[in-house]
């Protein structure tokens, strides 16, 4: 049934609304959220499998045929990201159960987590560029609430920056859409793509594409990341992990979608620009990651490095590079959430923000320490963990395309990732214990469960790379051949 592909967005929305009525009943809210997310995970898995067997699925809302109506399109790329995003949300929510506190749970916290997920999944699934904007707004509105919930001074300060920068970028987004609509008279992404390939990508269209590049660069933190480290260190740990895992990824997804499906004719301008931006992001992110002693800043700069790395795949535009980018996107959603959760927990148990004020944590929390070690190796790309296969494939693609500078930057940045996290590990986990066993804050079961699940997922993605290969290859094939997507939408 085609209606299935609206559920990853519609289900979280309806659950979020129901939770508003259940405001005083926190336990019920938690149960409904978990059940709803598990159902969504099941549905997303089913969608991924049926896209793989039966080809791209589409749903025309209200029965309006494309290109006139709004539609959802699920190809393998979207389906993979929806699945991973929902899993990450579930795990961050489990962490939130025992960390977020009654006060925030009472202020519609779970509703807004559900709305956030709805916006994220909607952005991944939509096939209409204005609807993409709307889904971005749903996601951002939920994130505005989540970033400010709790109302600490730092949160208020950072949220003003965050809201302003996102409103400005959304305005640019709207302007870009208006330019596009003025030139082509359609908003359906497949139809836009078809019209451009028929009439050629005129200089005006290329300029419009650069407007989109700026918008998505702001949203994903590609070089224009100045707002990111501050905003991602302000909210509570569970929310920061959700942001780090999901929000920039939506920007990356949109950039990959727009520059593979619509603006792929003038690659010497647009993709060169993306390549330069990605390279600059890798350099600046690497410098940022080693420049700070505040753990949350370091972790936030690691997000930025990953953005640069994934978009190297888009800049070189080969099948292998896209496969690598998709693997790395999946890996990064999982690993960055885990990293944010671990960093936030370190700050909770020690009460310190700088790693040089912590020491000897591994004696107090051995399992916790080793999980930090594992995520560090995974982010650095050590096999058999999940970061490895993505890095290899992006590297392979870069070699094929002859972009040796990007290749070098991408791999040197991995060393910086390793160094920045190793510094945290050596300083805060080794050495003299500063927390005596009597003062030790015990790690809650919910925390360990969420860390454990994410660590297991990293192993699953790393060791089971072969199992995911056909899905990823299918997704990369659709990205390389936009005609497949267009045929599924318009000529079906």
């Amino acid at each position: 049934m085609t209606n299935l592909i609206v559920l990853p967005m519609a289900l979280p929305i309806i659950i979020g609304i129901i939770l508003i009525f259940l405001r005083p009943y926190i336990k019920t809210q938690r149960a409904i959220t978990v059940i709803g997310l598990l159902t969504t995970i099941g549905i997303s898995g089913y969608i991924l499998q049926s896209v793989y067997t039966d080809g791209i699925m589409r749903l025309d809302f209200g029965g309006w045929q494309p290109p006139f109506g709004i539609l959802f399109v699920a190809d393998s790329f979207s389906a993979i990201l929806v699945l991973v995003a929902t899993i990450v949300t579930l795990i961050c929510t489990i962490y939130a159960f025992s960390s977020i506190g009654r006060e925030m749970e009472n202020m519609y916290f779970y509703s807004f987590v559900n709305f956030l997920l709805a916006g994220v999944n909607g952005s991944f699934l939509t096939g209409d560029i204005f609807n993409l904007y709307v889904n971005f707004e749903i996601m951002l509105l939920a994130s505005y609430v989540l970033i400010v919930l709790g109302g600490k001074k730092m949160q208020l300060r950072e949220s003003i920056k965050y809201v302003v920068i996102n409103i400005i970028s959304s305005w640019f987004f709207l302007v870009g859409i208006a330019y596009l609509y003025a030139q082509l008279g359609t908003l359906n992404m497949a139809h836009i793509s078809q019209l451009i390939s028929e009439s050629g990508q005129t200089p005006l269209l290329t300029i419009t594409s650069l407007v989109f590049l700026v918008v998505f660069a702001l949203k994903s933190g590609l070089l224009l990341y100045f707002w990111l480290p501050g905003s991602y260190s302000a909210p509570p740990t569970a929310v920061a992990a959700l942001f780090g895992g999901l929000l920039t990824k939506v920007g990356i997804y949109s950039m990959i979608r727009v520059f593979t499906l619509i603006f792929y004719h003038e690659t010497q301008i647009t993709h060169l620009a993306i390549g330069i931006l990605a390279g600059a992001t890798l350099i600046a992110g690497s410098i940022g990651a080693v420049a700070y002693k505040d753990i949350r800043q370091i972790v936030a700069y690691n997000v930025i490095i990953a953005v640069g790395f994934i978009l190297v795949g888009l800049a070189v535009m080969t099948q292998e590079a896209f496969e690598g980018s998709i693997y790395y996107l999946m890996h990064d959603m999982i690993a960055k959430s885990l990293l944010f959760l671990l960093a936030g927990t370190m700050i909770t148990v020690t009460g310190e923000k700088r790693f040089d004020n912590m020491s000897g944590l591994i004696r107090n929390y051995p399992a916790f320490g080793w999980m930090f070690f594992i995520v560090m190796l995974s982010l650095a790309g050590v096999p058999p963990l999940s970061g490895f296969i993505g890095k290899v494939l992006v590297g392979q693609g870069a070699i094929e395309a002859g972009s040796f500078i990007l290749l070098a930057l991408a791999f040197i940045s991995s060393i910086f990732v390793l160094y920045s996290l190793l510094r945290i590990f050596l300083n805060s986990f080794w050495g003299e214990t500063i927390i005596s066993f009597e003062d030790e804050i015990p790690l809650r079961k919910g925390w360990m469960v969420s860390f454990g699940l994410l660590t297991i997922l990293m192993f699953v993605l790393g060791l089971g790379a072969e199992y995911f290969a056909p899905y990823v290859a299918d997704a990369a094939y659709t990205l390389m051949n936009p005609q497949v997507y267009i045929d599924a939408v318009l000529n079906d």
């Binding site: 609206v6 519609a10 609304i17 508003i20 025309d60 809302f61």
Partner: protein, 140 residues
């Protein structure tokens, strides 16, 4: 601060009903001509806001004991819920249906599922607008 503004209060008592009637008119007009759930919601909300301004908040909260946040949620639930109706009939999400019915006294009228959706929109708009204005006024 207590302002005894007799003229404003008397006028408001009358005007609120005119505004409410206009809101209902706009709501139903929206089906085929300018108007609709969103506009009706704004007009309805303006009636509530006028009441809150002219009388004090306590009086109105006693007279209309509604949690406007819940009203917004109820509206959103209705609007999304009509979408889910599509699952029952196995048609694409958000498909609308309409038919003509013979009703005594009124004659032939058109009933549509869009009206339910629009009612949801109206409630959501009323809820959100009033909640925003009330929370801003509480802040100061």
């Amino acid at each position: 601060m207590k302002i005894n503004n007799v003229i404003l209060r008397t006028v408001t008592k009358l005007v609120v009903f005119i505004i409410l009637t206009l809101a209902v008119y706009l709501f139903f007009a929206g089906h085929n001509s300018p108007g609709g759930g969103f506009i009706a919601g704004l007009v309805l909300a303006s009636a509530f806001v006028l009441l809150f301004i002219v009388y004090d908040m306590e009086t109105i909260k006693n007279a209309i004991p509604l949690d406007f946040k819940k009203i917004a949620a109820l509206g959103a639930f209705l609007a999304v819920g009509t979408g889910f109706g599509a699952f029952l009939f196995d048609v694409p999400f958000l498909t609308q249906a309409f038919d003509y019915f013979q009703v005594p006294f009124f004659g032939e009228i058109e009933l549509t599922t869009v009206t339910i959706f629009e009612a949801g929109v109206t409630l959501a708009v009323v809820g959100v607008v009033v909640t925003i204005i009330l929370s801003i006024s509480e802040d100061v």
